[in-house]
């Protein structure tokens, strides 16, 4: 996957030089191991800074919202699905976009790796199947599939769903996996343990809203937690308010979440907020056979009504 960059740069330069787009959105190398920084290039010279590797887990669709320019964008499977969602929700026009599709093999879990290596990771290099982690006085090679973000290990849409040009050949999709295993485990808990699970999950939340802001779906001009006329939610550290934020945000993402994992990746406290959205993803799939962002022509289940809609969840 690290071999994609030459082609990504070539396409980016071409569409800039030909005037197809005004800017290309991609990543440049971060100043820390496991981190790259989303950036834009308006000239083919600026494209030289682009990188592509397993640290591009931020969802770039987030940077498209309501932009007016013609934009080239690098999109892995999940980004492409959020681009579709954006188009369906009128946040960007298909005609404004030149999508450089990137068949993805999963992004590295920065929380997991930094926890695994308490002594600063100085360098990470990747091959097809392995990741080499280097610190000041250690070096370790790990199988790539063991250090992927959890959403990536259960992803079945690694290939971009929509694109104008591909940066590489399509990859084989993962099959035979139980995508909802983690959700099922929580579902199986009794009420008390379930409550405790969510209490523990949110115990360290500082309400910085990085999870919300990293999410391409959370583009409301004023989020319900920020609304002040009237104010719906208290702004302190009251656990009820923290829960309200998370529960409601998750419901707002129902039928829209692509499980890109950007929210979890962004959280400074390493909270697995996906556990909320994943449950809703499962419900949408089981009730409506729906997966977000797979087609420009289908309306999401929550903005359509069908007399045959299942309603056994109504109490």
């Amino acid at each position: 996957m690290t071999g994609y960059i030459a082609k990504i740069k070539k396409i980016s330069k071409q569409i800039l030089d030909e005037g197809t787009v005004d800017m290309v959105i991609g990543f440049r190398k971060g100043t820390l191991a496991l981190m790259n920084e989303p950036c834009f290039a308006k000239t083919s010279k600026a494209v030289d800074d682009f990188v592509w590797d397993g640290n591009c887990g931020i969802n770039l669709a987030n940077y498209l919202t309501s932009r007016k320019e013609k934009i080239g964008i690098i999109a892995k499977g999940c980004d492409s699905r959020n681009i579709i969602t954006h188009i369906i929700e009128n946040k960007i026009d298909r005609d404004q976009l030149f999508i450089i599709g990137v068949p993805c093999k999963g992004m590295l879990d920065r929380h997991l790796l930094s926890a695994k290596f308490p002594d600063e990771i100085l360098n990470v290099s990747e091959s097809e199947d392995a990741v080499i982690i280097k610190g000041a006085d250690y070096e370790e090679t790990l199988p790539r599939k063991e250090v992927l973000q959890e959403n990536c290990s259960v992803c079945i849409h690694r290939n971009p769903v929509i694109y104008d040009e591909l940066a590489a050949d399509l990859v084989e999709e993962q099959a035979d996996l139980d995508r909802f295993e983690a959700v099922r485990k929580i579902e199986a808990l009794n009420a008390e343990d379930k409550w405790q699970y969510f209490e523990d999950l949110l115990a360290t939340c500082i309400r910085c809203y990085a999870c919300r802001n990293a999410c391409p779906l959370c583009y409301c001009p004023t989020c319900f937690v920020d609304e002040s006329k009237p104010q719906w939610v208290g702004k302190g550290q009251d656990t009820t308010d923290i829960r309200t934020f998370h529960f409601l945000r998750a419901f707002h993402d129902a039928g829209r979440c692509t499980d890109c994992g950007a929210c979890v990746r962004a959280c400074p406290m390493g909270i697995d907020v996906r556990m909320f959205t994943k449950k809703l993803e499962k419900d949408c799939f089981e009730s409506f056979g729906w997966e977000a962002g797979l087609s420009l022509d289908a309306r999401p289940p929550l903005d359509t009504f069908n007399p045959d809609d299942p309603n056994d969840f109504i109490l």
Partner: protein, 351 residues
């Protein structure tokens, strides 16, 4: 200068003893998490001095993320109806044990804002005054630590009452203030170190400072006019990736902004002061609906201009940053204050 030698075998019992006279705070591992946080230490809990940097700085011990400033009732039968009363506060002696020198230095920067001849933020200043700062020298600075470029450093004493240096089987405790001396006495740490030991501190200090690789320069920023640098063309590039979460400001030991909120239930309520962040659009939203910092670029520029330009100009005493590196580590999109500082410092105003 007085230096006390503390045998590590006596450490736990000393900390236990000092809890009779102080509320003791220190870093401990968060339950089920891989990282530590500053917490009040109950009986039998000793601070984990081997913990690496805490994610949140200890600023919340003086400046809680959410703090009740007043209590009130709107019940007309009450004598206190519609009066704002300060709730009972505990300003008995407290101590932060194991605070990093840069985090202690950060409090002195924040003090410039909360304790001025015109204004005194009683909540902050009373808590600060009640606190004794027992620092732990940083012997292996992280790769993101650029504290020697700011007014701090791994063995810096600014804002500390005692500086502890870890020497495997014992600590050397440099007594910096009377408050520090009182604390050590209360813990029963009275064994004066000999001259040879004392010299070790300087050697360790030099070693630690030499290990720091990260540097920033802001020597030229003060010479640029505010408007020139405000209108510089690099802000779009710097701010592009930012998602305007408040992470950088929440983890920062020097960020001091807060919001005031009333919360009521029935007829009684409290007025809170909650951390706020210049990164949030709501921060500057006027009641008219106008927002003078309505765009991301404006908000990102504000954060860096405040830390690296306005503060510098206003106090002529360095930047509003102690170089702890937390905002770099926890920014989800890797916006690096060192890079921004360099960009600002090497800015060339249009002629």
């Amino acid at each position: 200068m007085k230096v006390i030698k503390i045998d590590k075998k006596e450490w736990t019992s000393g900390i236990e003893q000092v809890k009779n006279a102080y509320r003791v705070f220190g870093p401990i591992k968060e339950e089920n998490k891989e990282f530590s946080a500053f917490k009040e230490l109950g009986k039998g809990v000793t601070p984990d001095l081997s913990a690496t940097d805490t994610r949140l700085s200890p600023k919340g011990i003086i400046f809680p993320q959410s703090e009740a400033m007043f209590e009130f009732t709107t019940d007309s039968t009450s004598d206190d109806c519609n009066l704002m009363n300060v709730p009972e506060k505990d300003y008995s002696p407290r101590a932060i044990v194991g605070i990093r020198p840069y985090d202690a230095a950060a409090f002195t920067l924040v003090k410039k804002n909360f304790d001025t001849p015109e204004y005194r933020d009683n909540y902050w200043v009373d808590a600060y005054d009640a606190c004794t700062f027992i620092g732990l020298a940083v012997s292996s600075p992280s790769i993101l630590d650029f504290s020697t470029s700011t007014k701090s450093g791994p063995f810096d004493e600014t804002g500390l009452d005692v500086l502890l240096c870890d020497l495997d089987d014992h600590f050397l405790a440099k007594v910096i203030s009377e408050k520090g001396e009182t604390f050590l006495k209360a813990a029963g740490f009275t064994n004066i170190a000999d001259e040879k030991d004392v010299q070790k501190i300087d050697i360790l200090k030099k070693e630690a400072e030499d290990k720091i690789q990260s540097r920033v320069f802001f020597d030229k920023i003060q010479s640029y006019s505010i408007l020139d640098i405000y209108e510089a063309n690099f802000w779009e590039d710097i701010s592009f990736a930012c998602i305007n979460c408040g992470t950088c400001t929440y983890v920062c030991p020097t960020c001091w902004c807060f919001d005031i909120q009333d919360e009521m239930q029935g007829k009684t309520g409290q007025r809170f002061k909650n951390w706020d962040s210049c990164m949030f659009p709501l921060f500057t939203l006027h009641t008219t609906g106008h927002n003078p910092r309505g765009t991301k670029l404006q908000r990102v520029r504000q954060r860096f201009m405040h830390k690296l330009k306005y503060f510098l100009d206003k106090y002529n005493d360095g930047i509003m940053c102690v170089g702890c590196g937390r905002c770099i580590r926890f920014c989800p999109v890797n916006i690096d204050i060192r890079r921004v500082c360099d960009t600002m410092n090497s800015f060339e105003p249009a002629k």
